[in-house]
Amino acid sequence: MTIATNSLTETTTEPFATPGLSQGDVADYFALLKPRVMFLVVFTALVGMVVVHPDVHPVVAFASLLMIAIGGGASGCLNMWWDADIDAVMTRTRKRPIPAGKIAPGEALAFGLFLSAGSVIMLGLVSNWLAAGLLAFTIVFYAVIYSMWLKRSTPQNIVIGGAAGALPPIVAQAAVAGHVGWESIILFAIIFMWTPPHFWALALVKSGDYARAGIPMMPNVKGADHTRLQILVYTLILAPLSLAPVAMGFGGLAYAIIGTLGGLGMLALAVQVYRLREGEPAARVAQQLFGFSILYLFLLFATLLAEHAFGVFRPVFG
């Protein structure tokens, strides 16, 4: 296994005013936790909990969810620590706290490690050690396997690394049910297959950014046309896979309708991305696919949440 190296010292653009004193405010530390990713983690984990109708006290479920969120934030923090050098050269990420000189790399590392250990131990104490072990695996997978290894070494980085983002429903089900069931494995598979078309659509638009940072994203390594084909293939698998909850009986009528319409929307945009290859229209449709993919995943999980948490579940079969 090759661990890529980074160069943190070259990237900090502003000197620290008082040596040894943090210059970051509370919002900077919060930003280290990648709040938007944390929201996705909480949301998908919550759905992983409600679809199995667990027999646990709501306080225990809430505390478990909180620890999963903090664990997710901690892995984001460790990712920002490691990737500070490439964050500094990408327009999308150069204002993050470490490249902006607001938080020292060592502080971010300590913060991330402390939150990682704390969230895993607390989840073990609050729920069970299977869930805690899975959360620890998720953090290590994202911070070490994805960030330190895959991201800088292979165009399959976000395919394999996407497993880390897909794990929260599995951790959540383990936390409230004490085991890992088919429901959370299917939710894992949906997020896993959703990740490549989602990120590659962005990579098509931001390929210059990734090239400058030296990240081997699919468009930079295999070319934009090959990426478009891959997006189409993954979407062709994703659209029917997203209906698996219906076949398994935990996705109801509303989910079947939303899943079918959303899947068709994803397919239509993926076909457009495959066909339009030049100029502004190609960039625009890739951007549209990126935006729609977020809405698509949100609607799938929100519908499952509504069906199970608010009692609007209507079975499709029988």
């Binding site: 008082t18 943090s22 970051g24």
Partner: protein
């Protein structure tokens, strides 16, 4: 004769940020204590008081 170290003087902005960080740590610790208490009550219920004297 050894030179005395130059004392660190924080700017008002640095003092303000440090105060905010300290407050956030205090609130987080308080929240953690409350969380552990509530989870203990939820998991054990009244049994938490049932112990040999």
């Amino acid at each position: 004769m050894a030179q005395r170290p130059v004392p660190v003087r924080l700017t008002p902005e640095e003092q303000k940020r440090r105060r905010q960080r300290s407050l956030a740590i205090a609130l987080t610790l308080g929240g953690l204590v409350l969380l552990i208490f509530v989870v203990t009550m939820a998991k054990l219920g009244p049994q938490v008081l049932n112990r040999p004297l």
